[in-house]
């Protein structure tokens, strides 16, 4: 069908052009039809596998466990009343906020340090620092799991070596929470580093020269030149990472599977446990949907930041 369009489209300019306006109109019409056809697969993917499942999720979340009866907001009410789920909300927020702050700080420091290096050495260091982010998290978390092993932990071997007590890495709620956040920070910091490094490189040198002539100290340059120039990219990166971290699954699932006593569950892993493992699809869908309002707010702010950036560049 698309081919048919092309052939006629090619014929049009060559044809003797009698009523010129109508040919042009037809061309324009054909052009937009063609454009629509080219985006059709994209529309099918988004419509069929993103938009439709989203509304289906809302429908599912309002059914009872056997999916035979409409229960309205019953599932949400039930979840909010459960202590386990309250802890899931609390842990998700703690996990996302702590991890993103740590990632942003480490990324910022590393980007600055790298930026100060001579160009030749920079590449090598950057290459090594990006490795955690290149290995699939489901794979690298296995290495962390082994490092946190109760009896064979290589970290504990080091700790006993310096005379400290071994740590129950994944056995105790507090440490397990620390563990999942640590692995997330390990995985995500390079992303912040590389984003900030790209942003730092785009700050014009003249601004720093002007600041230096005005007698600005290094700290003042950071405060009055670097940060304002990077404000937009920092906010986009932080919001984006908040979404991804908030909706994390791999790391928690492999490292603790929510344990001990459901203390490290976040929305994704809890929805998996309730919906897939325990087979309560509607309740699982409700757990997932709890993420939506927060994600929507973040997404709107990202969109604002990105469109502002586009305008600046234009």
């Amino acid at each position: 069908m698309a081919d048919g369009n092309v052939i006629t489209a090619r014929g049009v300019p060559a044809a003797v052009a009698p009523p010129r306006t109508s040919t042009l109109q037809r061309l324009a019409r054909r052009r937009s039809t063609l454009a629509f056809l080219m985006t059709l697969p994209l529309l099918a993917v988004i419509g069929g596998l993103v938009v439709y499942p989203f509304f289906y999720a809302i429908e599912l979340s309002m059914l009872n466990k056997r999916m035979t009866r409409f229960v309205g907001l019953g599932n949400f009410e039930f979840l909010l009343g459960r202590e386990t789920f309250q802890m899931v909300i609390w842990q998700s927020v703690l996990f996302a906020v702590t991890a993103v702050i740590a990632k942003a700080l480490i990324g910022f420091i590393l980007a600055h340090v790298l930026h100060a290096l001579p160009a030749k050495g920079q590449r090598k260091w950057r290459g090594m620092l990006l490795v955690p982010w290149v290995i699939p998290p489901a794979i690298s978390t296995l290495a962390w799991w082994w490092l946190f092993d109760p009896s064979y932990s290589a970290f504990n071997w080091l700790l006993t070596g310096i005379g400290a007590d071994p740590v129950p890495w994944l056995g105790e709620a507090g440490w397990a929470r620390f563990g999942v956040i640590l692995v997330n920070v390990w995985y995500g910091s390079p992303f912040f580093m590389i984003m900030y490094l790209a942003a730092l490189k785009s700050v014009p040198d003249q601004l720093y020269e002007a600041a230096a002539i005005d007698g600005a100290s290094a700290l003042q340059k950071l405060r009055y030149v670097t940060l304002p120039m990077m404000r937009n990219i920092i906010s986009i990166t932080v919001l984006f990472s908040l979404i991804v971290t908030f909706a994390n699954f791999d790391i928690v699932r492999i490292l603790t599977n929510g344990g001990p006593q459901d203390r490290t569950h976040i929305f994704g892993t809890y929805a998996f446990q309730v919906g897939i493992q325990s087979g309560d699809i509607p309740l699982g869908a409700s757990v997932s949907l709890f993420m939506f309002p927060l994600l929507a707010v973040f997404a709107i702010f990202i969109l604002r930041g990105v469109s502002r950036r586009t305008k600046e560049e234009a």
Binding site: P13, V131, I139, F267, I276
Partner: protein, 300 residues
């Protein structure tokens, strides 16, 4: 290496003709920078290093609690050998390759024409659609896997490898389209006009001008699609149950852990080999890799 860099820094300093204290300050700043870098490189590379060390030990050496876990005394490739010759590891590897290649091909086939249409051929609702594409990219897979579980079941694709080929494009297509809109948008309009004057149609324009000119962008998008498909964990975890259908990310754990016995040597060897393809792509195409990542937030 670090020594050489410090001396070049010091050699550059005299150009300022400043007092020695500033030079010394700069030098200390450089030393501080290298210390910070070294600390983070150790932190970042420790887990992969330990993975490698463990994978090279015999099972007896792993179980031996008296030795230093960070070094290997008698290296052996027995775990690698066992993985590649027995069990279902090769099947999982083949499945991962199969799914990833199909998804990359499908992603490119969908997103290149779509990005071309959205960046060059204005039509009703095209700007809204571009925004919608970006918003879809922000939808995490944990939000939709439960309804998708029902949909996949309804289509009869539960526990079927090809369900992954159907689902992964939802994770790759929006981002690839989005960065390609940016790359195509940066191609000067004069090129289109020249092509139109020469009598090219839209497909020729896309094939002969846009794809060659935007090749770095397409390569970056391809690498992104490859990485995402290779690393995906939730969908195979939720939709694949039998070993011969699994991909690497879920297969390693499900096959090498039997009850309470963890075959750590094999797990680490399997994980290392699973991490190798993205690491190799990264090692050889680092610049495209990074370009693809940063473009998402800086372009368009």
């Amino acid at each position: 290496m670090s020594g050489a860099s410090i001396t070049t820094g010091a050699a550059a300093a005299p150009a300022y003709h400043k007092a020695g204290s500033i030079r010394r300050e700069r030098r200390w700043a450089m030393i501080g920078a290298y210390i910070a870098l070294a600390v983070f490189v150790v932190f970042f590379l420790l887990p992969p290093f330990h993975m490698l060390v463990t994978s090279l030990k015999s099972s007896a050496e792993i179980a031996d609690l008296s030795g230093n876990p960070w070094i290997v005394r008698s290296p052996t490739l027995e775990h690698y050998w066992a993985l590649l010759n027995h069990g279902s590891y090769p099947i999982h590897f083949r499945n991962s390759v199969l799914v990833t290649l199909s998804v990359v091909a499908i992603t490119m086939a969908i997103s290149i024409p779509a990005a071309f249409a959205l960046s060059r051929m204005r039509f009703w609702g095209s700007t809204m659609l571009a925004t919608g594409v970006f918003l879809t990219y922000l939808v995490p897979e944990t939000l939709l896997f439960i309804p998708l579980f029902q949909i996949i079941g309804g289509l009869g694709l539960y526990n079927n490898l090809w369900a992954m080929v159907l689902l992964y494009p939802t994770l790759t297509v929006p981002f690839c389209t989005w960065i390609m809109i940016g790359y195509f948008g940066s191609i000067p309009k004069e090129l289109d006009e020249a092509a139109l004057i020469d009598g090219a149609n839209h497909f020729q324009m896309l094939w002969k001008i846009f794809i060659p000119v935007a090749l770095p962008g397409i390569l970056a998008a391809t690498i992104f699609a490859f990485t995402v498909s290779w690393a995906q964990f939730l969908y195979p975890m939720a939709f694949l149950v039998s070993s011969e259908q699994m991909v690497l990310t879920t297969g390693i754990v499900s096959d090498l852990i039997r009850g309470d016995t963890f075959q750590w040597g094999m797990i680490m060897a399997g994980a290392l080999m699973a991490a190798l393809p993205p690491l190799l792509v990264y090692a050889f195409l680092m610049d495209y890799y990074i370009a693809g990542l940063t473009a998402g937030a800086t372009k368009g």
